[in-house]
């Protein structure tokens, strides 16, 4: 199993989630994060003083997926989260050793 972490633009969340759902992904977890990267934050000006805001709001989604679903999940995220403009984000894939569903105690692919 794989643990997929994707950093995307916040307003793309619903679209990505819908796409993943239609692939059969049953769950995911989203977190508001602040991203630092090539995309620069806006300079905000308050009473003449400039504040350089280097972090940009992003959403991180974490999805545990079965190995065979991985490719399609990556493609779906890529397709839906893409605007073509800087700051679209990244997808990271880690190996996932074990999963437990708390409610039932199921393990492994069953638990996804």
């Amino acid at each position: 199993m794989k643990f997929v972490i994707a950093i995307i633009k916040p307003f793309k969340l619903d679209e990505v989630r819908d796409a993943l759902t239609s692939l059969g992904v049953q769950g995911l977890t989203a977190t508001e994060v602040k991203g630092f990267g090539r995309q620069k934050g806006q300079t905000e000006i308050y009473r003449g003083a400039e504040y350089e805001v280097s972090f940009v709001p992003k959403v991180k989604i974490e999805i545990a997926v079965a190995d065979e679903l991985l490719e399609r999940v990556l493609e779906a995220i890529e397709e839906k989260a893409k605007t073509g403009k800087i700051g679209d984000g990244k997808i990271f894939v880690l190996d996932l050793e074990q999963v437990v569903r708390i409610r039932t105690g199921e393990k492994g692919n069953q638990a996804l």
Binding site: E44, I45, Y46, R47, G48, A49, Y51, V53
Partner: protein, 433 residues
Amino acid sequence: MHGSRSFHRAVGLAATLILTATPAAAADEATLNGGNAAWLLTATALVLFMTMPGLALFYGGLVRVKNVLSVLMQCLAIACVASLLWVIVGYSLAFGDGGGAQGWIGGLDKAFLAGITADSLTGDVPETVFVMFQMTFAIITPALIVGAYVERIRFQHVLLFSALWLLLVYVPVAHWVWGGGFLMSWGVFDFAGGLVVHATAGVSALVMAKMLGARRGFPRELTPPHNPGLTMIGAGMLWVGWYGFNAGSALAANGSAGMAMLVTHTSAVVAALTWMAIEWLKFGKPSLVGAVTGLVAGLATVTPASGFIGPVGGLVFGVAGGAVCYFAVGLVKARLKIDDSLDVFAVHGVGGVLGVVLTAFFAVPALGGLKDVAIGEQLLLQVLGAAIVVAWSAGASIVLIVITRSVAGLRVEPDAETEGLDLTAHGERSYNP
């Protein structure tokens, strides 16, 4: 230099009413005017509302999230201490009978409000109401200074400094200008507190900011105001409350109060628009924080003039207040590099003095004003009055801070500053989800 002519000059409604309250003069004529009392009771509530919670929110929204509660607490504590001192000696020293020293300071005859009963009158309003109305001014003035020292000052120092400052700066100046002191005798115009409130607070704020030093990381590492919406709520409350501040200073529900309200409002909106326009030209976008700062600048600027000028004066004060304070903000922060954190000097100090000076022009009937004076002579008076108040405020503040910092310590430890005053000084966090 200011001979008997200016000595006897009429000095505005407020002054007249206060004078008539002296035992001899008032005995025969004064009877309660219910309409005036009703408006002054209301105005008192409005001015308290300016500080609690208006100013507290205005300032609270501008600081970082780890210091919000400390700002609210500073405003609240100052309100409490100032009120208590006002009852004990403040009112008496400002408005009591100073006898031979009357030019400089009132007496102690009304300490603990001795002799003031429900029947006492000041002019044609109950003296109790006058005491309260003036108290709300004594509350907000030291609270204005909070903006200079947020995010780094020791709470003990806030209390000690504010208490002494009230007695050493606010009370005497209030006496000089409104309580029968020498500036009042000279005929300096300050309707609702351009000198008494804004100049004293603004100048002392600059002194404090300088002596206290900048916040760690100033200016590069500071983060933007944590909640501009809070600042705007506070600004709305200040605006509404300022009706009580300026129109209440007429001490009557009449056309003078109405005109004061009108010019106050006009100056406020024009100053806000002016600030917006400047930002729009310079940065391509007008900001909310900018607009409300302009609003407050317009209100501070028109304060000393509000009972003396007409609508056209209001328009001019607005443009002047908005533009001059805008540039003053930049000057203090970028040139002088003083971390007067929430721009108390640039907005209140500069606005207040500017207003006092402009009053000389726009108070005359030719420019829509209500006072029959010669511009040149009045200008001299206004400038001189401002100079004296500025000098006194600065000097007294320096002395005070030198003393209080040895007694109560000025700044919190660097770690506490990093951690934030909410937790370290008050053990609380502004938001616990």
